[in-house]
Structure formats: C-alpha cells, structure tokens
Amino acid sequence: MAENAITTKELVKKENLVYQKTKLLTDDVMHYCPGCGHGTTHRLIAEIVEEMGIQSEIIGVAPVGCSVLMYNYMNFDMQEAAHGRAPAVATGIKRLLPEKYVFTYQGDGDLAAIGTGETIHACNRGENITMIFINNGIYGMTGGQMAPTTLIGMKSSTTPYGREVSLAGNPLNMTDLIVNLPGTYFVSRQSVHTPGNVRKAKKAIKKAFEYQSLNKGTCFVEVVSNCPAGWKMTPVESNKWLAENMLPFYPLGDLKVPEE
C-alpha cells in the first residue's frame, strides 16, 4: 500500500477534479433543511443549464413552497409566481419569449392542489415549457400539512392520525393524470434519494429541457422527494421511508417518451 502512497494534498488539484459545484448555482447557502431533496434537484437543474450552455436563454419560475427562494440560488433569470400559478406564469413568459427555455419548479401543494387547473391546462394546451414537480407528499413550507399526494395512513400536521380517505380523500397521482393529455410530450417520474437515482433524474430532467427546443409540447418530470422536517425523520430515515412507501405508489420511470 505504501508504494501507492499519494497524499490527499497531492490529489487535490485542478487536473484531478471530477466533481465540483456548478457556477450556475450562486454562493448563497440554500435555506433548506438538512438532507432536503430540493437542494439536490436545484443542483441538477443548474448543472444541466451549464452543460447545455443556456444560461442566457433560460427563465425559471419558482413556486410558493419551500422552494420559493429558488431564485436566490440559481444563477439565471427567474420569476416567483403566486401559489399554484407557475404554469400560467410560464405560459405568459414562453408565449411572449418563444425562443427562450422556460421552466416551472413546483411542489405538490403548488402543482397538484391549488394549481391543478393551471397544471392541467398548460399540459393540455401543450405549452412548450418544462415542468419539474417535486412530490414530497407534504406541505413543507407551511409546516407539514397534508398535500394532495400524501399517502393513505401517512401522518402530517393536518392528518395527525394518518390520512384517512373518508375524511381527507385519496392521494392524487398527478403525473399519471397529465400523461394522458395530448399536449404532453415527455413525462417521467424520478427520485433523488440515492446517487443512482440522482443520476437517472438528471438524465430525465435534461431530456425535458432538450426536448423543449423541438416545440412539441410540455415536458414534465416528477421528482419523488423527501421532507425530513415535515415527515419528522432524519434525512437518512426519510430516504429509506421514501423508497419503501412513496415509490410503490409513485413508481419511477418514463411514462411518456417521444417515438423516435
């Protein structure tokens, strides 16, 4: 072993660099709780924008939700939309700046509760935008209330005994719904709870951006994610819980891919 000895100091130099935070993320420390998947997904988007070289051509739309301050972290232009209205805001931008890349980034309360109408209609019109949908099964921002996507039996601050269908209705699988709409072009469900899943999620999100230039319709990627704070778990526990409980109900994979 000693023969191969090379100190960390010797290793840490530019030419050996294999992974580094992208410049498309600002230096602001993200306000997310430790271990929150929002941070990971933000990073993926920033990396993709860097790789595609579209910093000057992209406009993002932040939701109301924990990611409301996303514009602080992304080193490109963004607008902060009213709760649930990101698809309408993105429609306004994209229709008026059709040559730009426009995307929304929304939580499950934002996209699938208050914003249901805007989501369905943007997808049905086939707006040429990319929609990133962070499904963490809860309202993180406001303190862990039930989301439309909260699983049956899952506890939240407004289903303190676990979600009961008779009181609070069924979980809503929004991606399964919009995949049926003729306006969607590429639809995928991914997660960021393991390095492998992060890699896959990045591929899907990248496609969802690349396809935008084809002007063929809405590209939609759901990211099943965690909310350690809202779920009242450690980050590591939350990712295990996600794999065991969220993924059976929200199975990963591409739901609609363009015919080649």
Partner: protein, 74 residues
C-alpha cells in the same frame, strides 16, 4: 493493475450534517465530526482518506453541493 484513488473536500461551513453522503459512500469513508461548524451542525469529513475511490456518490447526493471530488489513476 491501475489503482484508482480519490479524495473529497467538504466545505465545512456549508455542511448541514444531514449524513446522506455517509450513507451514499460505497467504501464508508465519511463520518460526521464531533465538532460543530459555525451554524452548529456536525459536519462531515473523511475518516479514511486512503479508501476513497473518487466515485462522486457523496457529491452527487449532497443536497447542498458542497463536496468537491478529485480522482487519479495510479
């Protein structure tokens, strides 16, 4: 046989001590420090620098993107 050796650099004050990098490391070389950083978090660090393969798993899973990874074939 070429051996691969890696190293990570953690931005200590950016770390939130979530532990996801620890979970993600295939060779289990990361731990949380007993000390806290300016924000009061127990930050992650390499316990066994020699074992790191530079696979980048830790960096890829880190929600705050604060791990930089280096790698060399030797």
């Amino acid at each position: 046989m070429a051996k691969i050796k890696g190293a990570i650099v953690v931005d200590i004050d950016g770390c939130k001590g979530c532990g996801l990098c620890i979970e993600a490391c295939p060779v289990e070389v990361i731990s949380l420090s007993d000390n806290v950083n300016v924000k009061g978090y127990h930050y992650s660090y390499m316990t066994d620098p020699d074992a790191c393969t530079g696979c980048s798993n830790c960096a890829i899973i880190c929600p705050d993107g604060i791990i930089t990874v280096y790698r060399i074939k030797i």
